[in-house]
Symmetry: C2
Subunit: 434 residues, 2 copies
């Protein structure tokens, strides 16, 4: 943990301060080439919480991310612990050995400035922007499925003596400021009157009100909220939506793990799946006369399928090969007669992660439409009526996932339901799927 | 946390050192009366891990418990962190405001000596000894049900902002040495060949071997083992068997919470229920010509019923009155129309605790018969064949609870099954309950 002395050293970086910082890092100097005066610095942050700089030298470039002491999107009135930068670098350090090149290379972490000097990902773009533009990334579903399987399996009790998890559980339990954001913005605000909420109005006024009064929906959300706080299955990224993935056609990288803590694996799975579904529902808002996006929508659902299937297969394969933990200890299951029971138990565990993925994913869909922080997938649709129509479909699907979970036993059940759930069953249409 | 400097001050207390310690505590001096030379000291520890002294003065007495740096039952070859004394006092401090007089009064904790000066409970005896003697404690089921409800509810996310839980979660995550004992001795050893295991031999040889080869049983146990490590529902006592409860006919006190950490509520519930059931199965071993213990057995099952019912009712009542936490936040459920859904969710949560109680309870029954640490309920039965008969019944019930959980929807289902499950279904008898 940073010491108080380190805190006192904090200042918001400007280009000059940034150059001074980097000039002291020999490896980064070598990577950039040339001398500091020849380096170009620009601030490119468009997120909610941080300053992000690109530093370019004659031979190469790096990215520098610095935590701000408040929520950027809300201004200095919403203070935010700088230590999230420490948790981000701790997360990278913990999962790094297991996920290979699926995260950026970390060059340096400055504990006093709460900033990380890391690989500049280029020509990568944010997946969410690619999805809005209708671009295809043939590997992304597979890559992120692989990523979640590896990052979560190897930090779970299935893979390691529990003592290591307990040490990290204690460390990441300090990430309370960011966990508070999730607890409030995802699991509570959209279901109560809050000044932080907004939605496309007046089109979704009734839906927002109906959601706030829907006891069955709220109870389902609250169960997932409780699970989020209780179920310390693995070190999770905590914010794994399509804005936390950078892509090229060949490469995928996971960024921005500052919400990391020990929580339910389904929360990471659901973040990615839920944001793919948001993208699916937003596509009509991005259709043009030349492209109605219907083929692209199919591609999105196919990525959802590949994402889940890759995760499931990889997680089971890792479990079969690396059962070195205290959960389901290998020493208890040494006889050949155990195989069938153990296979069934593993399959049941994956089924529970699947159910969690759908529930958490649905919570994350709703908060992006009725809560504080919205997503560009919808926000970039200028026509409010059109945007509301897209959003209503996503809300209907999320509502169905949360209140009728028994309808969804497989990813195919989800994929076949999505095109049929286009508006809320209670909004006057016939019930979806009937 | 104790500092290294404090560790260096540790020495095993002898009567002289103990008197010197207490002579410095003004409140305790006043309670004992007289001067140190007039105080009587005797060591009364019979547990596995600690020194326990009674200090008597002319006006009163206190109990002093000091952690030893090894497992007393195994000798110095099994070292054990002294810090468990710190976790014990931290547990008492945390639940103390909520459980009133159901724990002993704590006079002093010495961080360097890892010892606690506390109320001497007199004329209380260990509940387990009372159960062996066939004595009735009319309040014990109700008191311990009340205790678990209060201690667990008020440390759960239902009652408090999650930040407080995260702070304590981090603190108690340090209690790894004792959690390791539970992980190994309860959830693994009885299901694998281990030098630490023992059982009544040769009578239970085949049963022990059959349990080690029973895939369905082992998978059920492993699921509860995983839940034990993952499910941070509340601050749990961690060892709440009938040896951790001291009683008179009017009073009940919970002691020895050194295994405390944030875990599943059902683990505490199961410890108490499982040990009541062990006592039930042990009763024929304590029968005399004048008392076949059959009426006493009914009393034990009635206490099991009262225990669960009290827990359930109290937990629900506390939840209805104190929903100030981040799980199921009250601000989300403010409309009258929410009541039915919320009631159903609360009831479902209690059902999940009930299922956990049975599973964890069964795990705790098995480890006391096939694992390392046995219980006086059975150990005090001299005749091996008779003891083995009692133990076989308990194993059969535990096996049924773990492998046929769907049979048990209510405490009445358990109570009606117990007298019918007297030997293992696979041992040649007809299946229990058919």
């Amino acid at each position: 943990m940073p010491t108080d002395g380190a805190c006192a050293r904090y200042r918001m970086l400007d280009p000059q301060g940034l150059l001074a910082l980097i000039a002291d890092l020999q490896d980064v100097r070598a990577l950039l080439g040339g001398a500091p005066p020849s380096w170009q610095v620009r601030e490119v942050g468009d997120g909610n919480l941080n300053l992000v700089f690109i530093v370019e030298g004659p031979d190469g470039s790096v990215c520098v991310k610095q935590a701000l002491p408040y929520v950027r999107a809300a201004g200095s009135s919403w203070p935010m612990s700088l230590q999230r930068a420490f948790f981000e670098t701790s997360y990278y350090r913990t999962v790094g050995p297991h996920v290979g090149a699926l995260i950026p290379r970390i060059h340096h972490y400055d504990a006093g400035l709460y900033c990380t000097v890391m690989e500049r990902l280029s020509p990568h773009i944010i997946l969410r922007h690619g999805l809005i533009a209708g671009r295809r990334y043939p590997n992304v579903g597979r890559d992120i499925g692989e990523y979640v399987a590896r990052a979560c399996f190897f930090t779970s009790d299935l893979a390691r003596p529990f003592e290591r998890k307990m040490d990290e559980l204690a460390l990441f339990a300090g990430n309370k400021d960011l966990i508070r954001i999730t607890v409030d913005l995802i699991f509570a605000d959209p279901y109560r009157v809050s000044q932080r909420n907004r939605h496309t109005s007046p089109q979704l006024d009734q839906t927002a009100e109906r959601f706030r009064g829907d006891g069955a929906l709220k109870v389902a959300v609250a169960r997932f909220g409780q699970k989020f706080l209780n179920d310390a299955q693995a070190l999770i990224h905590g914010d794994l939506h399509s804005g936390s993935v950078m892509v090229t056609e060949a490469d995928s990288r996971v960024i921005d793990p500052e919400f990391a803590f020990y929580g339910p694996i389904g929360f990471d799975l659901g973040a990615f799946l839920g944001n793919l579904l948001l993208s699916w529902y937003a596509q009509p808002g991005h259709a043009t006369v030349n492209d109605d996006r219907s083929a692209y929508r199919d591609w999105i659902l196919e990525q959802a399928r590949i994402f889940w299937q890759t995760f499931r297969q990889r997680f089971l394969a890792l479990w079969a090969e690396n059962a070195r933990g205290d959960a389901f200890p290998a020493t208890m299951f040494g006889t050949p007669g155990d195989a069938a029971a153990l296979d069934a138990a593993r399959s049941a565990f994956l089924d529970s992660l699947f159910a969690d993925m759908l529930g958490f994913g649905a919570c994350k869909m709703i908060r992006r439409i009725l809560g504080f922080a919205h997503v560009a997938d919808f926000e970039s649709i200028q026509d409010a009526a059109r945007r509301a129509g897209c959003e209503a479909g996503a809300l209907a699907m999320a509502h169905t996932l949360l209140t009728q979970p028994a309808r969804f036993h497989s990813i195919d059940d989800v994929i076949s339901a999505v095109p049929r759930v286009l508006r809320h069953a209670g909004a006057g249409g016939s019930p979806p799927g009937t």
